[in-house]
Structure formats: C-alpha cells, structure tokens
C-alpha cells in the first residue's frame, strides 16, 4: 500500500523520538498487515504474535514507569503505537484498556504490592487487564452503576455483586478491573471503588456476546453474585475511587481516538490505492472529483482529529487532567466521526469490491461505528460539551 502523505511528516511537530517510534511501529504493523489480522479473525485466533513482538520491543508499555519495566513515556507515545498499528490494518484493541486505563490507574493509585504484581507484566505484554464499567441498566449513565461490594466479615475481604456488559477481552485478560460501589462507613452513601478480579476467581462468570464485528477481541457479559475477593483486590485507597476513575477515562478516550484515526487512515489508504489505478472510462476513477473530493475531505478530517488527539495526549501527559478531559472528549468525537466517514467513502470508492471479502473493507463499516458508541457515545460527548464547554443547561 502506498502511504499517503500527512502534515505529520514534518520534522517540527513531533520529537525525533516520536517520529522514530511512528516509523518503527508502522514498519512492524505493515510486516504483519491486514491479511494477518483478518486471518486471525477468520480462524478465531488472537493476534498474539503481533502482541508479543510489539511487547518485546517495548511498544505496548511505552507509557508505563521505567521502574516497572515500562518505557517511561506517556499517552502521546502509546497513542502513536495504537494509531500506527491501526493505520497498518492491524490494531490491538486491548491497548485501550490494558496499558492505557488499567496501567495508568495502577501506576498512579495502586498499592506497592499491586504495582509489583501487575505493572511489569503489563509492560512486557505477558499480562493483560480488561476494564468493566458498562452495566445493562446503566449504560451511558454511569451514575446508575449498581455493582456493589461489601466487606466479608469472615475474611476481611470483599463480596462483589453485579452485572457488566460489553466488556472487551475478558477471556484473554488475566484480570478485569471492575468499577463498583461500596458503602462509605461514615456517611452510608455509595462511592465508586475499583476492584481487580482475576479471571479464575471462583464465581466470576463471563459469557461472550455475539457481536457483528470482525475483530479478534470479543465482548462479554459478566455475572457476579457475591464473588469473594481478597482484601487487596481493591485498588489503592477506598476513598480514591472517583479520582482513579477519572485518571483512567481520559487515556481511554485518547486511545479510542487513536484507534479511530488509525482505522480511518487505513481505509483512506486502501481507497486511494484503488482510485489511482481503477479505470472504467478514459482515466483512473481518482480523477473524478466525485471520488477524489470526499477522500480529500476524509483525509482532512482525519488530520484534524489526529491533531486534537495529540493535543489531548499532550495535556494529559503534562498533568492537566481537567484540560485533557475536554480535549480527550473532543478528540474521541472528532476521530469517530472522521473514521466513520472515511470508511464509508472508502467502501464506496471500491464499488462492488468495497463489499467483497477479498478487499476486506466492508467489515470496517461496523468496526468504525464502535468509536461513536464506546466508551462514551457521541450524544454524551455533545451533552458534556454543551454543558461543560458552552455553559448551557445540563440535559442529562
């Protein structure tokens, strides 16, 4: 595939190291390529070879602290990794949850023992952690989460009860970080708390949801009925749950944006390749403005989304959690819209071939919608921007 040029090729925007990382990850991704990814999906396998190789090169733990085997970089680096793998046609979805959300939460709020137990494995790719917040009856409204933990007086541990839905990668994750609530001993009010539930914990029941998505990673429904957890399953401090949650959610949005931008770039690249050579009248179809302009538009919108993604990562890495929150939401929104539009136009550019299995673009039609829905829907971002950025009355 010819790589389309980008305003990001300039040596002035990103540091030499980040540009080198982009190139190296892109080269690795292209060696595996889209065919490797689709073959894995078809055969019901995970893309473990890519995961392992990227991990051993330190790409999957770029954002984690060096003392735990990570790269000592930030979200800027991690989002580059996901974006470039996606642009090569083989994104690793679990980067959104494992190093980005769970790695960040543990690095910032975990106890020493929890960091020792999990971070080196997250950094070298040998361990993965999924993230479960969505509930069947809460959905976009996370204030309605009912998964609840109570102290088990017999053991000093916890008993966790609740339902989760659409949680990605539970089967291949060594543990799932679950957002629950617990009663504040002083006020009696429920406050959020995060729990690490290891996959083989007795009573931890997860069932695959049949999704119309072509991806190696699957979504699961979780059933927990008084699942007994050790005391140290609670992440960090009992009173820091809300802070932990906010710390994890910005990286999640930035990474979802990177996921969408990568997919969009891949789709536009395929379409441009095709439009350059496919000829049914006297010139290649790329010479028709009806084909060229929408691709140009898609390219522009992806570049804009990419810029916003970088901005959000920059703010987050610089420690501005509030500023990063607004930018991360906007980046996620922009990237999802740009990606959905890019994929739509790419499929159309290929005519009938856009819907063949051989070209493999049609499956991106569903995949590109994920960024509009998860981890927070387009409408919820618009609600947030209306209220928070524009100061309009709160509607939700």
């Amino acid at each position: 595939m010819t790589t389309t040029g980008s305003t990001f090729d300039s040596a002035l925007l990103e540091t030499e190291e980040r540009r080198a990382l982009r190139k190296a990850v892109g080269a690795l991704g292209r060696r595996y390529g889209r065919d490797y990814f689709t073959a894995a999906v078809r055969e019901g396998r995970q893309t473990d070879e890519l995961w392992q190789e990227a991990a051993s090169l330190g790409y999957l733990g770029v954002n984690l602290p060096e003392e735990y085997g990570g790269g000592g970089g930030g979200l800027a680096e991690l989002s580059i990794v996901l974006e470039e793998l996606g642009a090569a046609g083989c994104p690793l979805l679990l980067l959104v949850v494992s190093p980005a959300i769970c790695g960040t939460v543990l690095a910032r709020f975990g106890t020493d023992a929890q960091r020792q137990r999990w971070l080196p494995g997250l950094a070298d790719g040998s361990l993965r952690i999924a993230f479960g917040i969505t509930e069947p009856d809460a959905g976009s409204n996370s204030h309605r989460i009912t998964t609840t933990a109570r102290r088990d007086p017999a053991t000093g541990g916890w008993l966790l009860t609740g339902r989760k839905v659409f949680v990605s990668g539970v089967d291949i994750a060594d543990a799932t970080l679950i957002v629950g609530r617990t009663e504040d001993a002083r006020t009696g009010k429920l406050k959020p708390c995060l729990f690490l539930v290891e996959r083989d914990t007795p009573g931890f029941d997860f069932r695959q949801i049949d999704m119309e998505l072509s991806a190696p990673e699957k979504q699961f429904q979780l059933f927990l009925d008084d699942v007994a957890l050790p005391a140290d399953a609670l992440v960090g401090d009992e009173d820091a749950g809300l802070l932990q949650l906010f710390a994890g959610l910005n990286p999640e949005r930035v990474m979802t944006a990177a996921f969408s931008v990568g997919m969009g770039r891949y789709a536009v690249g395929r379409a441009v390749d095709y439009a350059r050579t496919r000829q049914v009248w006297s010139a290649p179809i790329g010479g028709h403005q009806a084909i060229a302009h929408p691709l140009a538009q898609a390219h522009i919108e992806l570049e804009l989304a990419r810029l916003m993604t970088q901005k959000a990562a920059y703010l987050y890495d610089a420690g501005d959690d509030m500023g990063a929150g607004e930018a991360a939401n906007m980046a996620k929104y922009a990237a999802a819209e740009a990606c959905a539009k890019a994929v739509d136009q790419a499929v159309h550019t290929l005519g009938g071939n856009g819907l063949t299995a051989e070209y493999g673009l049609a499956s991106l039609l569903t995949a590109s919608r994920v960024g509009r829905i998860a981890p927070v829907s387009r409408e919820m971002i618009l609600n947030f921007v209306s209220h928070h950025s524009l100061g309009l009355p709160k509607s939700y």
Partner: protein, 261 residues
C-alpha cells in the same frame, strides 16, 4: 579486549519515492526522503548479533553523506549500535566509488577496528564494489556476500551461497565482511533503543580531519563520469492469464514465446 566493529551504512533516497537526477546528473537528494539503506540494515543486524555473542564488543556505525544522513546513523543507533561517525563535507558531492571508499577507509582507521561490516550493495548506487575497494585500501582480507557470519577465536567465519554451491569462508581479524539480504531480518528499534539513541555520541568529521585532499573526491575527482541519464520507460501492462482449465498451457506458451523456457 573489546571487539571493535565498524559498520558502514549508507543514507539513500527512499526507493518507494519518486527518485530523480539533479542537473549535474548526481542523485537529487532533496526531492525524496532519505533513509538508512535497507540492505545496510542487515549489516547492522549482523554486527549486533556478533556483538551480543562476544564477551565485550563495541559497534561504531559510519556514514559518508549529507547532513540528513544523521537519520541513518540515528536509526542504526536506535537498533543498538554504540556510537557513530558522520563524515560530511561539501566537497564530497558527486563522489564516486573510488572516493567513497577512500573516505570510508580513512574514517574506519580513525575510529579503530577489528571487523568492518558492510551491506552487499547500496539501494541507490548499487555498485556493490565499495566493500572490496575498502578492504583493499585497509589492507585486510575480505569475505563478502555472506548469508551467515560469526566471530570467534580471532577469526570471522561465514557462509557464502552461490548458485551451485555454498562455501564456508573464513579470515583472521582484522577483516571486512559484507552480508546479504539472506543473513536474517533486521530488528526493529525498540522503544528503549529509540530513547537511548539520542544520547549516544555522534562524531562529525570533515575531509581535513581525515587528511584527505578535496581534489581526490567529489565530481571532479571521480574516475568515471555519468554522461547521460534517462528515466526508465514506464512498464507496459502485463498479461493476465485466467485459468479456465487451460491456464497451465497458456502460461507455458507465453513463457516459450518470450524464450524463458
């Protein structure tokens, strides 16, 4: 004692880009992005493997090229080389293989070496003779075009695969080896390697540092001159044989017609 390895790496215009000649018939280096010659990545990889197998080794990567050639050095450093030497001088523009090998030889002597590793050919000039010229100038044995290479007991050994036979070859150090694209995939730079590369020393040298007379290099000093250069005509569309039962026969007929069989 530490094994000193010098790897000669060339900065070349990206072969996937649209390459052109400049008015003076040298490569137009401004028009396309440059990078570390892919074939020299194999040389870096073999040097890294030799160094990893040795008790104590140090790898210097060396390039002769314009300012941007630093990118090639940086890439090699991020793959794991220890330090770099960059020979840059305006007088080098248009240098041929004789001049290039002269400059490389002086720079290698300056750096100090037990083993010199090169690629099999550059991806732009593709002369493939620099390694031999270099060994001659350094007065050391050359074992070229290796697909396997190892160092032990003061000797470098390797395998050279020919059309008819594979040869086991060896030379005592100091020596020069060139490695082929069959020697094993080059590694990708790790994130740690990328971060470390910036802190590794890059020594910048010009012709006077190496005691080279500018008249011996450059376009004027070249032994050969490019008289004319023309773009290769566009490839005409190929013939697609659709297999509807007779595919094999049609293929054979096509090959026979063009005297391939």
């Amino acid at each position: 004692m530490s094994l000193r390895i010098v790897v000669a790496v060339k900065y070349v215009p990206d072969a996937t880009g649209d390459r052109h000649f400049a008015d003076d018939l040298t490569t137009d280096r401004d028009a396309v992005d440059g990078l570390l010659s892919e074939l020299d990545e194999y040389a870096v990889e073999q040097a890294l493997q030799i160094a990893e197998a040795a008790d104590d080794a140090e790898i210097t990567v060396l390039t002769v090229g314009p300012a941007d050639a630093k990118d090639a050095l940086r890439k090699a450093l991020s793959m794991g080389a220890d330090k770099a030497v960059h020979v840059e001088d305006d007088a080098l523009h248009g240098t041929d293989v004789m001049g290039t090998s002269l400059v490389l030889a002086k720079a290698i002597e300056h750096a100090g070496f037990d083993l010199v590793v090169t690629g099999m050919a550059s991806t732009d000039g593709t002369a493939g003779v620099v390694p031999a010229l270099l060994a001659e100038r350094l007065g050391i044995p050359q074992v070229t075009l290796l697909s396997e290479v190892a160092v032990s007991g003061g000797k470098v050994t390797g395998r050279r695969d020919g059309d008819a036979a594979s040869e086991q070859v060896e030379a005592s150090l100091p020596a020069l080896v060139s490695v082929t694209d069959q020697s094993g995939e080059a590694r990708y730079p790790s994130f740690k390697g990328i971060m470390a590369a910036k802190k590794k020393p890059v020594e910048a040298l010009d012709l006077s540092d190496l005691g080279i007379d500018a008249a011996d290099v450059g376009l004027a000093g070249a032994w050969t001159a490019v008289q004319e250069a023309a773009a290769r005509p566009a490839r005409s569309a190929g013939t697609i044989v659709k297999d509807e039962g007779e595919g094999g026969k049609q293929l054979a007929a096509f090959l026979a017609e063009h005297k391939f069989i």
